[in-house]
């Protein structure tokens, strides 16, 4: 029913017109082609329209091709707000603040690593804390936890986890300025104490992959990606710490909605005017959680390097296991964009969306200034993941944003039912992928069929020009929580 009201703009975009729903201040734009349009949920369309009703929204309420229904904002959603008239919303960031991805490249060839892949995955599984109720190797005292919140990945480097040279290859240098540890609830501190340096569960993973296909050789080589070379991808976020921050602030914001008289079509859109004290507190806490997540991925990367060195007995220089980039895909940021020909500062919400800045953008580190920002898109554990590069078109159309992953097509229970009687680990092993998971049903829930085909998602953003394909990576070993 709701699909009929949408208008196709071009091959890759659908419009949710402003008259789709009462109260919309702007239109919605959903990046899907005719293939992914079939998988579009009516709930997602409704949520794109709901976001368009929020005060101070600038440009369209957008959704990337991996869109699916979330809480309040859709997952795959991008929305920018005016700093004076607009709002900030925890629902536009998500529970897992700074859930994100980092990618390492190496000098190792696939054929060499395959000889010892089982041993490698076993040792990684034993050294990367993962799964429900698992305990990390790090215990943060109150002082240390505050430093994590203030310094992010730099805290980890100061502690000896990785090198200072890693920092410039992390979005925002691995640390957002303006985090305020004094606002954080004691509950968030308590949840965060033992979870630094842990992978978590669900769709989070650590994958050993190889470069399967290269689409843009010049860019790939500049990033250190060569065909059949090994890469490592780490997908996780701010763990219980970030969740508690989100939980705490959903309550603060639901009070703020009444206080400031904001009319909402869905209570999970709870928000506050960006210049209010509630918004300032949330933003400063969100930054603390984002920093917690960057420190987390930095620690996990450090242990991954140690495992590679111990398993292959190769010195770091020969291994060349270096960071390509680290992106956040659940975050809100103040950024400068051109709106109606004028430079304007906006608060851009990306919930299940990746920044995709073009070459020359002032926020890019020197190493990528001429190349553009690497975009890292994780797929499901059986198919592939992708590296793309940011474009000028993304700046014009999507506030410099693109997709973030595959997106589910099957619920967890549907997946478990379909996997009944099957040994998913053996099916994966037959495909040449060694998997280890802590959870009783993680592999069933996370099997390939439960997800959209990542290739379709990436094709839409590539064809739409909001980021360009560089390389395809295929897994040979996966660790899940």
């Amino acid at each position: 029913m709701s699909l009929e009201k949408l208008k196709r703009i071009d091959e890759n975009r659908l419009e949710v017109p402003k008259d789709y729903k009462e109260g919309m201040r702007t239109n919605g734009i959903i990046y899907v082609d005719s293939i992914l349009e079939k998988e579009l949920e009516s709930g997602s369309i409704e949520q794109v329209a709901n976001v368009a009703t929020l005060p101070g929204i600038v440009g369209a309420s957008m959704a990337m091709p991996d869109v699916h229904t979330g809480y309040g904002f859709p997952i795959g959603g991008v929305a920018a707000f005016d700093l004076k008239e607009g709002i900030i919303s925890p629902g536009g960031v998500g529970y897992d603040i700074n859930c994100g991805v980092r990618l390492l490249r190496s000098n190792l060839k696939k054929s060499f690593v395959l000889l010892r892949i089982k041993e490698l995955i076993d040792v990684l599984y034993n050294n990367i804390p993962s799964g429900v109720g698992s305990k990390g190797k790090i215990r943060l005292g109150p002082d240390d936890e505050e430093k994590v919140l203030l310094k992010g990945a730099r805290w980890a480097v100061d502690k000896g986890f990785g090198d200072a040279s890693d920092l410039e290859r992390i979005e925002s240098g691995g640390c957002m300025d303006g985090a305020d540890p004094s606002i954080i609830s004691s509950k968030a501190y308590e949840r965060g104490r033992a979870q630094q340096g842990t992978l978590g569960s669900g769709n989070h993973f650590l994958e050993v992959q190889y470069v399967d296909e290269i689409y843009d050789e010049k860019t790939a080589n500049a990033l250190g990606l060569f065909k059949d070379h090994i890469t490592v991808m780490i997908h996780t976020g701010s763990r219980g710490f970030g969740h508690q921050v989100c939980t705490d602030f959903l309550e603060v914001m639901s009070r703020a909605v009444r206080k400031y008289g904001i009319v909402l079509p869905d209570r999970e859109l709870a928000c506050a005017p960006f210049n209010s004290s509630e918004a300032k507190d949330y933003f400063a806490s969100m930054k603390a959680a984002a920093n917690y997540a960057w420190a987390n991925r930095q620690c996990l990367m450090h242990w991954t390097r140690e495992v590679f060195m111990s398993v292959f007995k190769i010195p770091p220089s020969e291994l060349g296991l270096t960071l390509i980039y680290d992106v956040a895909h659940n975050i809100a940021k103040i950024e400068e964009h051109i709106v109606n020909g004028q430079k304007k500062k906006l608060v851009v919400h990306r919930k299940g969306s990746t920044r995709a800045f073009p070459p020359g953008h002032p926020e890019l580190p020197a190493v990528y200034k001429n190349l553009g920002q690497p975009v890292l898109i994780p797929g499901d554990m059986g198919r592939a993941s992708f590296v793309l590069i940011g474009t000028e078109k993304a700046m014009k159309e999507t506030f410099g944003s693109t997709c973030h992953g595959a997106g589910r097509v099957m619920s967890r229970h549907q997946a478990i039912r379909q996997a009944k009687g099957r040994a998913i680990w053996r099916e994966m092993e037959d495909m040449g992928i060694i998997v280890r998971a802590a959870g009783r049903e993680t592999l069933a829930e996370e099997m390939s069929e439960a997800y959209k085909d990542i290739s379709n998602v990436v094709d839409v953003v590539h064809n739409a020009g909001i980021s360009k394909k560089v390389a395809k990576l295929k897994p040979i070993g996966v660790i899940k929580g």
Partner: protein
């Protein structure tokens, strides 16, 4: 004190991405117990949890829905921060008031007091199920009919 036995009545709600619980009971007390136990059973096989430790929890909120979310988030917090998981829940006191948006916004009218019986989770002994991160307001429902109370709640996984 012995562990309270009860009829666990809940079913899993299927939604893409996350998971929900539909819990019911003759009274709202029973439905609240079943919602909590239903959530625990997503995390692990609660049959293997021992009754070694008790914890008293008290939560207040300005609406029944908000009380339900806060109560479940408190159980999640105790598990995520300290590994404490229950095999049984006993409600000591439950007050559900219908919220009135026109009244004072900080007026906390609904409240729950409960005792959880359980132990500290040990991944060597206990099955690892879903990592439940938060209870949400998404499609949340508390319905009181004549002789039945039905709760629906969706969790962020």
């Amino acid at each position: 004190m012995s562990v309270v036995s009860f009829n666990m009545t809940f079913e899993v709600l299927d939604i893409s991405g996350d998971i929900g619980i539909k819990a019911s009971g003759k009274t709202c007390e029973e439905a609240f117990v079943n919602a909590g136990m239903g959530m625990y059973s997503l995390i692990t096989d609660i049959g293997k949890i021992k009754d070694e430790k008790r914890m008293e929890i008290e939560v207040k909120a300005d609406s029944p829905e908000s009380l339900l979310v806060r109560y479940l988030n408190e159980l999640i917090f105790q598990f995520d921060a300290y590994g404490f998981i229950g095999r049984g829940i006993k409600i000591l006191d439950l007050r559900l008031m219908i919220s009135n948006l026109k009244t004072e916004i900080s007026n906390q009218q609904s409240s729950i007091k409960l005792k959880v019986f359980g132990e500290e989770f040990d991944s060597d002994r206990h099955e690892q199920g879903l990592l439940v991160k938060a209870a949400t307001y998404h499609n949340i429902k508390i319905e009181k009919r004549n002789d039945e109370c039905i709760i629906e709640v969706i969790f962020d996984i």
